[in-house]
């Protein structure tokens, strides 16, 4: 859950990149880290807890301070989860306190089962944290569009964006930074607007 500190005028939000193994979640963070425009010192280190074969073991973590909004410093914490099935407990831990989710799907035909399983796994893990996807803003990113065996976007929409409320979706080639910032800006917009539109009491 986002934290707003009235004393220090800071807003902190947590965005988690979720999806099947080797789908491009870490690549998204690497691209954001390498290409984001920030004032000096506002971009933290990209921390990766990875195995020797570069698979994410615990999570990747990237803190970024974006522009100030109405005098509030906005600090974004971007996390990825490990995609491999065996690391489910870790995925649950990383989801704790999540404000927004970018689901990174692998566009290759043969990965469709893994995409669907990972999406179901997300729903299950949110449920275990007494959360549900209706309450948490999320966007879909269909990655690896440059591969010859990429499934049509309509097919991926049918597979993953077929719930009562359709969410924004983006095609991407994460290693070329295509679609990366579009997804990040949209999830940021959705999650901030969600709080703005909630009719919660005003504080002095």
């Amino acid at each position: 859950m986002a934290i707003i500190n009235q004393a220090t005028k800071e807003l902190q939000v947590k965005i988690v990149y979720y999806g099947p193994a080797m789908g491009g979640k870490t690549t998204n963070l690497v691209q954001v880290h390498d290409h984001v425009q920030t004032a000096a010192g506002n971009k933290g280190k990209l921390v990766s807890l990875a195995t020797s074969s570069d698979r994410t073991l615990f999570f990747d973590f990237l803190p970024i301070e974006a522009m100030s909004i109405k005098g509030f410093k906005t600090k974004f914490q971007l996390y990825t989860v490990p995609g491999q099935v065996i690391y489910n407990t870790t995925r649950q831990l990383v989801l704790r306190g999540v404000d927004g989710i970018v689901f990174v799907a692998d566009s290759q035909y043969e990965k469709m089962t893994e995409n669907a399983e990972s999406f179901q796994n997300l729903l299950d893990n949110l449920k275990s944290l007494r959360l549900n996807l209706e309450e948490i803003p999320y966007v879909l990113q269909y990655n690896k569009r440059d591969l010859p065996n990429a499934a049509p976007v309509e097919y991926m929409e049918f597979l993953l964006n077929n719930r009562d409320v359709q969410v924004p979706s983006f095609t991407s080639v994460a290693h070329k930074c295509e679609g990366v910032f579009e997804s990040l800006n949209m999830i940021t917009r959705l999650l901030l607007n969600k709080y703005i539109n909630q009719n919660v009491p005003q504080y002095a």
């Binding site: 859950m1 220090t8 947590k14 425009q37 921390v47 306190g97 005003q202």
Partner: protein
């Protein structure tokens, strides 16, 4: 899931007073209050030689991983986690459902003294958190004060 209460200046001041007193008593380097979701809530002590934002994220992950291990060995809770280094050590202990007290201290300072004073500090911090919670039990955070009309382009790609 229960959320951290909204903290006002008076809350942060109280929390910082507790942390300052704790540092005085223990001679620790840095004391942090961390949300279990990975956010740094407040700290006192040295923030120049340590990247406290990243330490907060990693410490909360490590602490929660240890809680999961506790459950796997039929232990209700590993209340505290102590990581011993050659020069610097770290101690993390539970405050309440939402937050942790994490302390970085020189390895030559015994962990006993840190544990002892951490018990008092975490009770005082938990008490202040309860005050904040009871002020508005149902209240989460209110971003409407920000009045953001357009958030597009919040993150821009370098050309």
């Amino acid at each position: 899931m229960a959320t951290l209460p909204q903290l006002f200046e008076e809350d942060i001041q109280q929390l910082d007073d507790v942390l300052r007193e704790f540092l005085r008593s223990t001679d620790a380097l840095t004391a942090m209050i961390i949300d279990k979701g990975g956010f740094l809530i407040s700290y006192q002590g040295d923030s120049r030689q340590f990247d406290l934002t990243t330490i907060g994220a990693l410490a909360s992950g490590a602490y929660l991983a240890n809680q999961t291990i506790a459950n796997l060995v039929n232990e209700e809770n590993f209340d505290s986690v102590y990581q011993q280094g050659e020069n610097v050590s770290m101690f993390a202990t539970n405050i309440d459902e939402q937050s942790l007290l994490t302390v970085i201290f020189k390895a030559q300072v015994g962990v006993g003294v840190v544990k002892y004073y951490a018990n008092t500090a975490r009770e005082q911090i938990a008490a202040q958190m309860r005050i904040a919670q009871e002020r508005d039990p149902g209240g989460g955070l209110d971003l409407s004060v920000l009045n953001i009309a357009d958030t597009s382009g919040l993150f821009k790609r370098k050309m």
